[in-house]
């Protein structure tokens, strides 16, 4: 760290405490070089401030002023887990409580797939070779923190030609306590050539106390692999959630990602798909339904590095109260990525005069044969549609619900795992009812 330029932007009082924590961290030994680089990066970067282009809208240091410490290990009763699992769906399940792997809740693991708690497989050659390669720490303060402090999380390796029938369900549950806690879930998923895998990541909080989840997921889909990923973000009302999801796609591989943000006080999602192989295809969709003073940022990057890659991106949001949402959709088409076909859309419905959305596409196109379309809408519920339904006898509240559901179904309907889809459907119904009740109260 000697010689590193001390940054004057450090506004959070607890910034230096992270460095001290790192020095005394018991899990600092394995992957020492990676961690040291990460903490040096964090030391240099500090918490982002609104002076950073990528954090324009919100001052995260204000949000994370609280001195979050590691949580003590906790156990979770089956009943507490129940709301988040799918009885009708056979899954390969791994549960983490307050950042700690909870093997008692894990299910059996079938053939052809390696699944382990990351902390147990630091020496695995694939972990050594790939961890931290996609999720670089040089510019991302929170990814740097995660990398410095990571411990538990999921490592998945699917061997070539294997189709994993049961989806892997990874649950990160925080049982919020009086002292604010932080966890750094870390996942590395590698799908070899021709393999097929579905993943569901659930991030949830129990209780209303403040905590901070700082997650990083790296996915490598090798040639012709297919990875289908769903993320449910159901953090508690005072939960802070920062997540960096980065996928790399090999030749002719396919990755679909569906992100649902329904909880949390502050949520920042970075999602990137790096199409490194010709003909690979990325689908990145998201939905958020917010109320009160929730703030949700979605920063996405679809990086077209090779020719003939289609990408599809649709984010939709419903906002009540004085909630805030930011959408930044960057599409980066490299010079050699001819015949790129990139589609991006962000649509928002504001249910309240005080809710705000800031949406911006960002296109960087260096190839000339490119089809790229993007659009964004921010509006109220369609008054004419509402009247049309009412004129047919449907009461206003019901008419509203129908229109909002139709808006959301556009994303929910794309989730292919039926039990997850119907769970989401219920969650979103409840959520919309709640938001509407607060608007009309």
């Amino acid at each position: 760290m000697t010689g590193s330029k001390k940054n004057t932007r450090h506004t959070a009082s607890n910034h230096t405490s992270w460095i001290q924590k790192f020095e005394s961290s018991p899990n600092g030994q394995p992957l020492r070089a990676l961690r040291q680089r990460a903490i040096a990066d964090f030391d240099r970067l500090g918490y982002p401030t609104t002076a950073d282009e990528a954090w324009k809208s919100v001052n995260p240091s204000a949000l994370i002023r609280t001195n979050f410490g590691p949580a003590p290990p906790a156990s979770l009763a089956d009943a507490e887990l129940e709301p988040f699992i799918y009885p009708d769906l056979q899954t390969i399940r791994l549960v983490f409580v307050n950042g700690y792997y909870a093997p008692e809740h894990a299910s059996d693991i079938p053939e052809g797939i390696t699944i382990a708690n990351l902390a147990d497989v630091y020496d695995h050659p694939l972990v050594k070779a790939h961890l931290g390669k996609l999720a670089q720490t040089a510019d991302l303060a929170f990814t740097a923190l995660n990398t410095a402090f990571m411990r538990d999380g999921v490592f998945i390796h699917v061997q070539r030609n294997i189709t994993v029938e049961a989806p892997v369900h990874i649950l990160f549950i925080t049982t919020a306590s009086e002292t604010p806690t932080i966890s750094h879930p870390r996942n590395l998923i590698i799908a070899d050539e021709n393999s097929q895998l579905s993943i569901v990541e659930t991030y949830a909080g129990i209780g209303s106390a403040a905590y901070f989840t700082n997650a990083v997921t790296e996915i490598i889909a090798r040639d012709n692999a297919s990875v289908n990923s769903i993320r449910l973000e159901l953090q508690g009302t005072a939960g802070l959630h920062v997540a960096n999801f980065q996928a790399q796609l090999g030749r002719s591989s396919r990755m679909t990602f569906h992100d649902f943000t329904l909880g949390g006080a502050f949520v920042r999602n970075d999602v990137s798909a790096y199409m490194r192989g010709e003909g690979s295809e990325a689908t990145v969709n998201g939905f958020y339904a917010l109320e009160g003073s929730q703030h949700v940022d979605n920063y996405t990057l679809l990086e077209h590095a090779e020719p003939h890659c289609p990408s599809h991106e649709l984010y939709k949001g419903i906002l009540g109260g004085s909630s805030r949402a930011i959408f930044r959709g960057k599409i980066h088409v490299h010079q050699k990525a001819q015949h790129t076909d990139a589609y991006q859309q962000n649509e928002n419905i504001l249910l309240s005069d005080n809710a705000r959305v800031n949406t911006k596409p960002q296109l960087e196109i260096y190839a000339d044969e490119v089809k790229c379309s993007h659009g964004a809408t921010i509006g109220q519920l369609d008054e004419n549609a509402l009247f049309y339904l009412q004129a047919r006898g449907i009461p206003k509240a019901e008419a509203k619900r129908i229109l909002l559901r139709a808006f959301a179904d556009d994303i929910i309907g794309r989730v292919t795992l039926a039990p997850v889809r119907s769970h989401l459907s219920d969650l979103i119904d409840t959520r919309l009812e709640h938001i509407d009740a607060r608007e009309t109260a």
Partner: protein, 253 residues
């Protein structure tokens, strides 16, 4: 059944309807004609309860009750139906779901039992025949990507399912080819009966060859300036609206 007395209505600062008077009895078919912009749709929308329009004077009594006091959905529950001049597209809500939800909303409000999916299918198949529509429409989002003619048939389909007592058809004949016109007119005639009333707003007397009105009213600049029987429609067809405009201008001077 319906009595409109000195109805003044408009948007924000502009009055559009300047004192409409109209009485409609059960069993009657009334035609309202008039040039573009004379306020026909405004009248129709006010009767259905569109929030964009506010009533500044007058009253509307429907079956002895103050219609203007009811929410749009209550009006539907009481048997008022408006076939929209421009039916609204509702992406993501399929026609079958929409129709069944509407029917059940009416039934629930009337303390009647809801129709289940199976009974509904039987019912809707019957109604689809009336408007000569294919069952595949039921799976499509309401009005989305429908042709003009399909939208209008879909309006009549809704009318057939909801069985209103007072139907107001706002230019349901506009933009229809002759086949579609026949289908729409046949639907309206089939659904009309001695205990029901129908108001057809139209621009063209062509429709009135198929739906024979008991009364014809001519609307001009937010007023009904002339009423008569079906021969008035023929006269209008022959002489055009200019004739009535001049006539009205001389009268009011």
């Amino acid at each position: 059944m319906l009595e409109i007395r000195n109805l003044h209505a408009g948007v924000e600062d502009a009055e559009i309807l300047h004192g409409i008077n109209l009485a409609v009895n059960a069993g009657e078919i009334h035609a309202i004609m008039g040039p573009n912009g004379s306020g026909k749709s405004t009248l129709a929308q006010v009767l259905a309860g569109h929030e964009a329009y506010s009533v500044t004077e007058g009253e509307v009594i429907y079956e002895g009750q103050d219609l203007l006091d009811m929410d749009p959905d209550e009006r539907a529950v009481h048997g008022v139906f408006l076939a929209f001049q421009y039916p609204v597209e509702i992406p993501g809500v399929n026609s079958a779901y929409f129709l069944r939800t509407a029917l059940n909303a009416l039934r629930t409000a009337r303390d009647e039992e809801e129709v289940d999916a199976i009974d509904f299918l039987t019912l809707i198949r019957d109604k689809l025949k009336l408007v000569e529509m294919d069952e595949k429409f039921l799976k499509r989002s309401v009005n989305e990507g429908f042709s003009g003619g399909e939208k209008k048939r879909h309006e009549i389909l809704q009318m057939a399912v909801l069985e209103p007592r007072l139907s107001i058809l706002d230019e349901t004949d506009s933009g229809l080819d002759i086949d579609a016109l026949r289908v729409v007119a046949n639907g309206v005639n089939t659904l009309h009966s001695a205990d029901k009333a129908t108001i057809v707003v139209t621009h063209y007397q062509r429709l009135l060859n198929n739906i024979v009105p008991d009364f014809v009213h001519v609307m001009l600049d937010g007023r009904i300036v002339q009423s008569g029987d079906k021969t008035l429609a023929l006269e209008l067809e022959e002489k055009g609206y200019d004739w009535i405009k001049e006539e009205h201008a001389t009268h009011s001077v």
